[in-house]
Symmetry: C2
Subunit: 434 residues, 2 copies
């Protein structure tokens, strides 16, 4: 992907507080849907601690051509129409907003009326999600969890050939900030002969990236892996909340169902492929000696730069830690490079049998654990299935999540010679079962 002047680390913004912002400096410019207060959603772009109102920018005559077309397509507080347009209009919007919001912008006096303080806005899902698919491409996660069931064969025979995935539940995806209620469900503890129904006792998080689909494909028409990157409109963080006791009892033979469908939390900003261009790296997670991908999954450009170097963190605050005024405990650090398959391979595989993706569909990568013990993307891994509790900074211990816990996922692109950017928080509080 091309690097251009919008990646210049020396670029400065006319918006106060944007320069050096940990998530949203002028080099990022992620897309989202916000409302100032409680009203209907409208398209916006994050810049520092502010949100640029795209419709107002459009009405002020500050966007032209394809950028204007992009905003016009984001109707009704749903970005799907914009995402569907693909890279051209999206890049034009980025370029024009970069110019408008830069410190040297000739129009910089017209910017302040377009801004809302992010802290006083509500962020919504950026699109009505048609279908949500969750993959399993974090090889350390697959190995760690597989080892708990099959010590001799942690990875199943298909893992290094198939980008394993499954259909998830779209209706229960919520943006960061919406609390998650602990689910009831059926589970069969090992010491009982029959299952019981009650609140989950093994509630967990999963650290994932989300992938927003832009231009879709017609049913029956696969997307070749070499064209798959063009179908990706951007990225977010995704917490695939999981009830391990429900999952363990229900998942055979058709996979996870209610153990996951009670809630999924995503960060509300779509971080574009353009913003992430500096953080592309070669696909390196496949150890030598592993089987070559089948040809339909193999593209030299994708292999050379289809992976992502993004620092990922999981932060946990408890009721007690918040009352004590302590910062959240960092439970894990990982990196998006631990994906065994690239996002382009996920798209190519998903469509290889003809399944159609639609603009606004969401893919999850699966849990992105690293190889070290402190890089696990789920408590299931960190605590070895609840056997070894994790000790928090304030002395509390956790095997699984407790009511009042708040989980925050964050992601950052950091590279020498480039401005750091972030995804914004993917955060939710655990409420007690009702």
């Amino acid at each position: 992907m091309t690097l251009d002047h919008t990646h210049d680390p020396a670029a400065r913004s006319c918006v106060p507080g944007a320069d050096g912002h940990p998530d949203f400096p002028i080099q990022n410019l992620p897309l989202g849907v916000f409302s100032p207060g409680e009203g209907a959603g409208r398209p916006g772009v994050a810049i520092g601690d502010h949100i640029v109102d795209l419709a107002a920018t459009q009405e002020a005559g500050l966007l032209t051509g394809e950028a204007s077309r992009a905003v016009a397509a984001a109707q009704g507080g749903d970005l799907a129409g914009l995402l569907a347009l693909g890279g051209g209009p999206r890049r034009a919007l980025r370029t024009q907003l970069f110019a408008l919001l830069s410190a040297e912008s000739p129009e910089r006096d017209r910017v302040p009326p377009l801004l809302h303080e992010a802290a006083s806005c509500t962020l919504h899902l950026p699109a009505r999600i048609g279908d949500y698919t969750d993959f399993f491409v974090g090889i350390h996660h697959a190995t760690n969890t597989g080892r708990q069931f099959r010590p001799d064969q942690p990875l199943l025979p298909n893992y290094k050939h198939v980008p394993v995935g499954y259909h998830g539940r779209a209706s229960s995806i919520r943006p960061s900030g919406v609390p998650v209620r602990r689910p009831h469900g059926q589970a069969k503890p090992p010491h009982l002969d029959a299952p019981v129904f009650g609140p989950s006792r093994r509630l967990d998080y999963e650290l994932e990236l989300g992938v927003w689909i832009g231009p879709g494909n017609a049913l029956g028409t696969p997307v070749p892996v070499g064209e798959a990157a063009d179908r990706i409109a951007g990225f977010c963080l995704l917490n695939d909340w999981s009830a391990r006791d429900i999952q363990g009892w229900e998942y055979q033979p058709l996979g996870p169902f209610l153990a996951k469908s009670f809630a999924t939390t995503i960060s509300p900003w779509i971080v574009t492929p353009e913003a992430l261009a500096p953080f592309r790296i070669p696909q390196a997670a496949r150890p030598s000696g592993d089987p070559d991908p089948l040809p339909y999954l193999l593209d030299p450009v994708d292999q050379a730069g289809g992976a992502l170097d993004l620092d990922l963190e999981i932060l946990l605050s408890t009721r007690a830690s918040r009352e004590a005024g302590l910062p959240p405990h960092r439970v894990a650090r990982s990196n998006a490079r631990h994906m065994y398959w690239t996002v382009a391979q996920m798209v190519a595989h998903h469509t290889s049998g003809g399944c159609n993706l639609r603009p606004g569909d969401l893919l999850g990568t699966g849990t992105l654990s690293g190889p070290e013990p402190d890089s696990c993307g789920s408590l299931l891994e960190t605590t070895q299935g609840g056997k070894v509790p994790v000790r928090l900074d304030n002395g509390e211990e956790r095997r699984f999540l407790e009511d009042g816990d708040e989980v925050t996922l964050v992601a950052y692109g950091r590279r020498e010679g480039f401005a750091s950017i972030g995804f914004g928080a993917c955060r939710a509080l655990v409420l007690p079962a009702s």
Copy 2:
């Protein structure tokens, strides 16, 4: 469910050909979305070989009160708004249409301009499907397929406790008549060491009922089993096309994915709970000695009349049989009574952890095989995994589907003292891989 004058078998319609129609006599009145020719979809009701244009009926002033409200809610060729209103408006619409279309209707002279010949119309999906969930409640199917993998333990330990289900793909659901293209995919034949990619060689159908969700539930608010029937807006037939070779290789550990997501075919008419009231029977598929359902799945009204007595058939025509002018071969006869869990139990279970259903969501029952060899709902069962070919009337044999085969599912409610009704066809032709 109450039986009333709309179930009177002696009722006659003013629409020619409706009386005694195998699917759509006046006692049925299913809901759908059609277009006369190629235009946009509009709400309609099937009557004999005709379709009543509901918007035109509304505009003619022939509907009042809740029935009028129901039609007004079916905007833009999507019935989800109507389904969301629940039983009251739906029943009012049925009652008023029954009166309007009856042989004694005072307004019968005003009916002909409201009718379209079904044969000249296109039928669409009746709603934009938000999420599609497929269950596994056909216990003979679960046993037959389980036996192929685990002869000693065909049913897994959770089967008689959990209404097992998984998330399906909504984007690739198509109405009857849209051809299905044979998918490519990864499979690993037993005689090879590594997987290969190519057209599926083990393409199969699955005979299921589909269930349309009416009023939804808020995230975090389960639907009690005693209220679950009120959330069901109607039923259709569903062919869960399956590529068995792809499925066998991909499905561990997260369940079926591309083996199913290339296509799902449904019959386009929503047969309402009101039309099916005469065909309700006690839930009887659970043999004595089986564990009692957990309390959240148990409701006396549901147990007494929550099951369905519907005859189901699978018809197969081949290119050769059509060229010879032969009728389709009936591959199997089954019945919807072979569901181990009722539809209300499916809804109660689905929402028990707080997962939200939305109007226009679709549930599949899973394959509804019967206990006899000629009542198998999939070729996987009929041919014992492809080992024993089925012989068709014209002498051809099938282990799995071949290009040019056309599969038709049909369903009928038949009960002494009531008019028989049908679902209309769920049909699709298999196209060669592209």
